[in-house]
Symmetry: C2
Subunit: 309 residues, 2 copies
């Protein structure tokens, strides 16, 4: 199975409004609610691709129960979340139907105690024993040490399980130094990590910091990969219009499934790019337009990149 | 005890943001969450005034459990909510700390089945047996018949329990005809009910439609009362700056406590006006600034109103 870690799981709530009017009252008629957090979105896409996935991370309170109920309803996904005394955070997305734009409110998440963090690490090590690969995704809830992902990367490497990392800021900086197999930053995360704004230079720099391979997601420009086997760019055939939320998570799912299936890099990148683009066409993260995905897969251009250095 | 009915209870969630920026993402650091709905706010204020209060209405799902946990923590408040299969709604208030303005998102509430509505009516009749007064507050959840409040007014009258009504639209129109003891519309609700925009004329018209007494809440202009004992205006000494949410609920609590304590009308109106103004000074509905309330109480001007007709 593939393991995805979401330390800060969420109950994702979406409100559709005819038009968002600040400082006024909105009567919501359309409410949707589902389990969220980057690793949960990755798991949903992996399951849709036919992989067995196990979801771990923290869960607590009434919102946590709602997250677990939602996971139970997903075929191919196993819930291995670790209970905490705190309460799983909510995220509220308000979609303006007039413009299609989303206004997002993200709660901070539960405070995780030292004992809960220890319990998680134990559960994680146990789960790695049956994992073909692991993805470490998203922000850290309060209380989890900033070096958390670095530790989880080392544990995965010690267990011989390939590890993909998708986070930002200081947790990313520390975990890259622990030598993960693959890091997937977006342009902002890459610039913050390396101080470089030119994508190829920044991606190569991120590699030098310890990652075996780096795949940067550059929005409408697609993916840029720096790997020991070569450097590539993968771009969708046209700009997609829609909701970019979750596009990065779908790219992670594409890369991870390609790794487990031992696809050559260009095929992994084509899959990740097509999944990412097909996710923009759907209104919610963790879902993709399957027909668009299959059509796009043949039309993604993957080109070898000449290195800068 | 005093009974308050909130058919569409809510879990009220408040997010404070430094500045609301539509179509962007907000990291929330300050989340508060409490039981809500008009009748729940009324109960909170009544309990703070020293009355024993019982809260009824519908409750369901994980949000419903959170509402009930919150009620348990309120001294003087007894939870007699009736369970439904649906899920209690959330309301999300986003407070912009820069301007002090609030942007509100209100979910619709659970769909109530015919059997659940029957179970509620039975529970209500039972609760009336030990009630000194009852307040019927707020909107109807989906599935509850539009004549619901009219029926609940008749049941209360048959039981000899004074009944106060605070709702709007068609449910208000129908329930007024069932002859409640007191109706508390705001200016908009009054205009919608009567078609008249001149407050005194509209208040008198609302009385003629069946209410024994009508107290209209006119925002910063205070209260206008048309009763069999006389007509009065009650106004705060100065305009209050703050959050008007819940000011009407506090007026209801003031009127209802005054009724149960058999205060003369001018004293009831002074209390309701002072409570209302002291609520504007606090950030959340159902709470008031007690020191401001006590100071304001002596300074509210209650004047006899010369009738128009």
């Amino acid at each position: 199975m593939i393991l995805t870690v979401t330390l800060n799981t969420a109950l994702d709530i979406t409100y559709r409004v005819r038009s968002l009017r600040p400082h006024s009252s909105h009567r919501i008629t359309d409410v949707t609610e589902r389990p969220g957090g980057k690793g949960v979105n990755v798991a949903r896409v992996l399951a849709a691709l036919g992989h067995e996935v196990t979801v771990t991370g923290f869960v607590g309170g009434g919102t946590g129960r709602a997250v677990q109920d939602g996971l139970t309803a997903l075929p191919g996904v196993t819930d291995a979340l670790v209970p905490v005394d705190g309460v799983t955070r909510r995220t509220v997305a308000v979609v303006d139907e007039r413009t299609g734009d989303t206004t997002q409110f993200n709660e901070p998440g539960p405070v995780v105690t030292r004992a809960e963090w220890s319990a998680f690490q134990e559960a994680y090590e146990h789960l790695l024993a049956s994992a073909d690969a692991v993805a470490l995704c998203g922000s850290l809830p309060p209380g989890v040490p900033v070096g958390a992902y670095a530790g989880l990367v080392r544990t995965a490497r010690a267990a011989g399980v390939p590890v993909l990392l998708d986070t930002s800021g200081e947790p990313l900086r520390r975990a890259v130094a622990a030598r993960p197999d693959l890091v997937k930053p977006n342009a902002d995360e890459l610039a913050e990590l390396t101080g470089a704004h030119e994508p190829l230079r920044a991606t190569q720099d991120a590699c030098r910091r310890g990652a075996r391979a780096v795949v940067a997601s550059l929005g409408r420009e697609g993916l840029l990969a720096v790997t020991p086997e070569g450097h590539w760019r993968a771009a969708p055939p046209a700009r997609m219009h829609g909701n970019p939320t979750g596009a990065g998570d779908s790219a992670v799912a594409g890369l991870l499934s390609g790794l487990v299936e031992r696809l050559p890099w260009p095929e992994r990148l084509a899959r990740a790019t097509a999944l990412s683009a097909a996710t923009v066409l759907t209104p919610v993260a963790g879902e993709f337009d399957r027909r668009a995905y299959e059509e796009l897969l043949a039309r993604v251009a993957v080109t070898t990149e000449v290195t800068a250095a």
